[in-house]
């Protein structure tokens, strides 16, 4: 019994957990090794960008627009109480650029893109397509993982900016209805409180989220266990884990950006 116990550093479950972390770390390390090594799969990256970015546009348009309208509607009463309804565009712009656009875009993408990648790579793993690439002397990691992670890292920021724009449009619609603010006046007062740091932090956050979504989806899919059950699990875990990580990253990045803001 005592001999058996020594086989594990902690307990069996925890050991497996830490082993998982190590494997994930190795996976990320491998990504950084492969991503800068030629040949580059530009064609495949562009195809993935199209799949990930362009095909998410309808969803992002809808959610962005609704978020803009709803947030404006809900914020109005408390500002009107101070007679500060004219602050509405600025307030919404700050909320959208600093927090809503990166976070909501990331969460929606985690749901749509993350699960998609997890399921796609999972089914490729399960049906031995990844092995098939390997035995045809093709580096499946480079062809499947590097391209997808690169595409999400590039596309989530773009989707985020698009979300912010559509969100502000929705907000403008609502403000225009209630306060009869003109388009130019709205955007002038919306952009005046936004600093370079806000935009930069929003972009940086989106890049991190994009990387996270791609990485988690690929890791879970690439290492899916055999069987169709493994595919579903990979898709599901991709969403759960990437959302969890996105929230952790959110608070850490907000904290750090606040240090910079104050300094």
């Amino acid at each position: 019994m005592s001999l058996k116990k020594r086989e594990h550093i902690t307990t069996k479950g925890l050991d497996d957990y830490f082993l998982g972390i190590y494997n994930a770390f190795k996976f990320v390390r491998l990504f950084f090794r492969e991503v800068f090594k030629p040949p580059f799969e530009f064609k495949e990256i562009i195809r993935q960008c199209y799949e990930i970015g362009y095909k998410s546009l309808p969803l992002i348009t809808l959610t962005g627009f609704v978020t803009g309208i709803v947030f404006t509607k809900q914020s109005r009463p408390s500002l009107v109480e101070f007679g500060a309804a004219s602050w509405l565009p600025g307030l919404i712009a700050i909320a959208v650029v600093r927090a809503l656009a990166p976070l909501v875009t990331a969460l929606i993408s985690a749901g749509k893109i993350g699960s998609n990648i997890g399921a796609e790579l999972g089914s490729m793993r399960v049906s031995e397509q990844i092995d098939a690439m390997e035995v045809s002397a093709i580096n499946p990691f480079k062809f499947l993982v590097v391209t997808r992670v690169t595409a999400t890292t590039l596309m989530i920021p773009v989707l985020m900016m698009y979300f912010a724009f559509v969100g502000l449009l929705g907000s403008f619609l609502n403000v225009n209805q209630n306060e009869h603010t003109s388009f130019i006046a709205f955007f002038q007062s919306a952009f005046s409180p936004i600093s370079f740091l806000d935009v930069f932090t929003g972009l940086f956050k989106s890049i991190m989220y994009g990387f996270t979504i791609g990485m988690v989806g690929c890791y879970k899919g690439y290492n899916a266990s055999r069987g169709t059950e493994g595919v579903g699990k990979a898709a599901n875990m991709s969403v759960v884990i990437s959302m969890f990580l996105i929230f952790i990253e959110e608070i850490v990045i907000v904290q750090i950006s606040n240090w910079i803001r104050i300094a």
Binding site: L19, V252, Q255, W259, I262
Partner: protein
């Protein structure tokens, strides 16, 4: 295989702990600037902190120099506030500077404002306690005024009964003056009166301070007080209050004299004091004076009640009284 696994698990554990430390560290540090600026602590004891909270700002001449670290009760149920102040501001805070509770703008947080202090006083040191600057909120002013009024009424009532008894010759005088409790009462009355007078004086000072502020040009209050009649009313009230005080003072002195006399002449014939018609008349007059002054005080109160600035306060008070 097994050893390689163990190595992998250790690395995984290490990464995990590292990430936890990083995340917790980033969140715990909170404000990196604050963390790395040197600070020192000073404290102040307030009767009432009006909702001040740890983390609220501390201003010196309108500049933020620190935050409230802790708020504790002391044994007298007063509130001890410990303030964390930037070291670089230390030289500008003098030992005789005063602290008071204020607020950041119209609807902002509560803050502590440190002001005053003269260059000839030494800068504060770590752990020093700053004195507080007395502030008169309108509420407090009104409360004191009313309390005074009630005090005065009791006094006059007491005196009235006493003097009536004296004049009617009820009971023996010896009984009156040898009665310890009565004597004590008298002394107590005098003390209360003196206190009342002091209170009133303080109050008038603050009211006149208040009106002076109203008079200041360009001030917020000045803008509000456009109606000169009201302003005059207030001024008049102050004058009347002053008068009350002087009367009360005089009376108190009289009484004190009398009591001192009694005190000194416990063995001498008591008739001197009480059979002397002059002193009796003087006593009566004093009481009349006092009576009229309480009336005047009542009037003042009424005048103040009509002052629109304070109307709100009285309305609220009436409402409270009604509900009770």
């Amino acid at each position: 295989m097994a050893t390689k696994n163990k190595h992998a698990i250790r690395v995984g554990l290490f990464i995990f702990i590292g990430l936890i430390f990083f995340t917790v560290g980033v969140l715990a540090i909170g404000n990196i600037n604050k963390t790395f600026t040197k600070t020192f602590l000073i404290k102040t004891v307030f009767d009432d902190v009006s909702g001040l909270q740890p983390g609220n700002n501390i201003w010196l001449s309108g500049v933020k120099i620190g935050t409230v670290k802790e708020i504790n009760f002391n044994e007298n149920t007063q509130v001890e506030v410990i303030m964390k102040i930037e070291k670089k501001s230390q030289q500008y805070i003098r030992k005789n500077a005063k602290a008071k509770i204020s607020s950041e703008g119209l609807i902002g947080n509560k803050i502590i404002v440190i002001s005053g202090g003269t260059p000839d006083s030494a800068p504060v040191e770590n752990g020093d306690a700053l004195p507080i600057e007395k502030t008169y909120s309108t509420e407090k002013m009104m409360n004191t005024l009313q309390e005074n009024n009630i005090n005065m009424l009791t006094i006059t009532d007491n005196l009235k009964i006493m003097s009536e008894k004296m004049i009617e010759g009820q009971g023996t005088i010896g009984k009156l003056l040898n009665d310890e409790t009565l004597y004590k009462n008298l002394e107590h009355t005098v003390a209360t009166l003196t206190r009342a007078a002091e209170n009133t004086q303080e109050l008038t000072a603050s009211v006149s301070n208040f009106t002076k502020k109203l008079n200041e040009k360009g001030g917020f209050a000045n803008d509000l007080v456009t109606d000169t009649i009201i302003f005059n009313n207030i001024r008049q009230s102050v004058a009347q209050l002053k008068e009350v005080i002087s009367t009360a003072d005089e009376f108190a002195n009289n009484l004190k004299d009398a009591s001192v006399d009694i005190n000194n002449n416990t063995n001498s014939p008591l008739g001197i004091l009480l059979h002397d018609e002059k002193s009796a008349a003087s006593l009566k007059l004093s009481i009349q004076n006092l009576e009229s002054s309480t009336e005047k005080l009542d009037e003042t109160m009424e005048a103040l009640q009509h002052n629109f600035l304070l109307k709100g306060y009285f309305k609220k008070k009436d409402k409270n009284d009604d509900t009770e």
